[in-house]
Symmetry: D2
Subunit: 106 residues, 4 copies
């Protein structure tokens, strides 16, 4: 992942774009890209989405997610593994298995 983040930062710095990359606008950008990804599935069944569009937009989502993690000094692996641990308590297997319910409705 460091290779990805370094490539993203090099691209950003070549264009002198760090001035725009405060965490609020990075989150805005991430949300916008997540919606562009969603558009691949609009009016369609999951299996009918254009795979090229999914690939393109998911790449954009990851780009801003990695930049945001870097801007906020967060290690991606650490925060995801920590979240999985917390989710193990919110969604115990005995209650959550086979259920799509949110934790406060289990």
């Amino acid at each position: 992942m460091n290779e990805i983040i370094d490539a993203l930062k090099k691209f950003r710095d070549e264009r002198d774009w760090q001035q725009f990359h405060n965490p609020k606008d990075l989150s805005l950008a991430l949300s916008i890209e997540a919606s562009e990804l969603l558009e691949a599935f609009l009016w369609k069944l999951p299996e009918d989405a254009d795979p090229e569009k999914i690939k393109e937009e998911l790449a954009d989502v990851f780009s801003f997610a990695f930049l945001l993690a870097d801007a906020c000094d967060l290690d991606v692996k650490d925060i995801v593994l920590a979240k999985i641990k917390r989710n193990e308590e919110k969604y115990p297997v005995s209650k959550a298995k086979g259920s799509a319910r949110k934790y406060n409705e289990l």
Copy 2:
């Protein structure tokens, strides 16, 4: 990153959740988490967001992004590096340096 994806899939499979994880609903979930991350900055200056909330929600964003990449058989590093290459053409340094303009307004 494989370690992250394996941990996410183990958590999912322990709970028999793969039945819900079609790409359309995964994109929905990703978009919803991106908005929860955005909420950390609502009504606030970038520097005033709660760092714990950013960490929590960014972890959720990455979780669904990795699950979606896996569901669509995409390699995260490959697709991001490929997108950076395409962006080098859309945003040549000579035109894009120091500018926040979208590529079709350069």
Copy 3:
């Protein structure tokens, strides 16, 4: 508002689009348009957004919001006024005045 909803339904029915307009995809569309509106402000100060883009995208947001209200048989005025009443309890003036805090942090 009935005039707006009638015009939207006429446009939809001329194109035989009701088949696509289930509430889930209408909500997807609404979310996508809300993000396109957000893009008007990306990397910018609030006052620097393009007013034409705001007008265009906000019109799209309202279009899908009205179609969704109609699809779910909801009266827009009733639901908004009811929500304001509920919010008066969640955000009593004595606690909420001048504060951007969410109700569970008051």
Copy 4:
């Protein structure tokens, strides 16, 4: 609609919240609420969403949409009817009937 907007502004002004309601943060709020509405449908078929949640979140979407229209001095009916007209050109009945394709793919 004026009755709705007046009620929203009265609620806002009683709490001295206009200081937070710049168009960028209003768009953020609108996008966040659109995602909360989307959550009603997550992992579910369209017909299985909780109608109370749809009502609640759609009311929030409309609240911020109306506040944004007012902040940007836009007449909701005018902008939606104007957008329908533009869409009649982007989506001529002869090409768009029965099709979910985006205008640039017709």
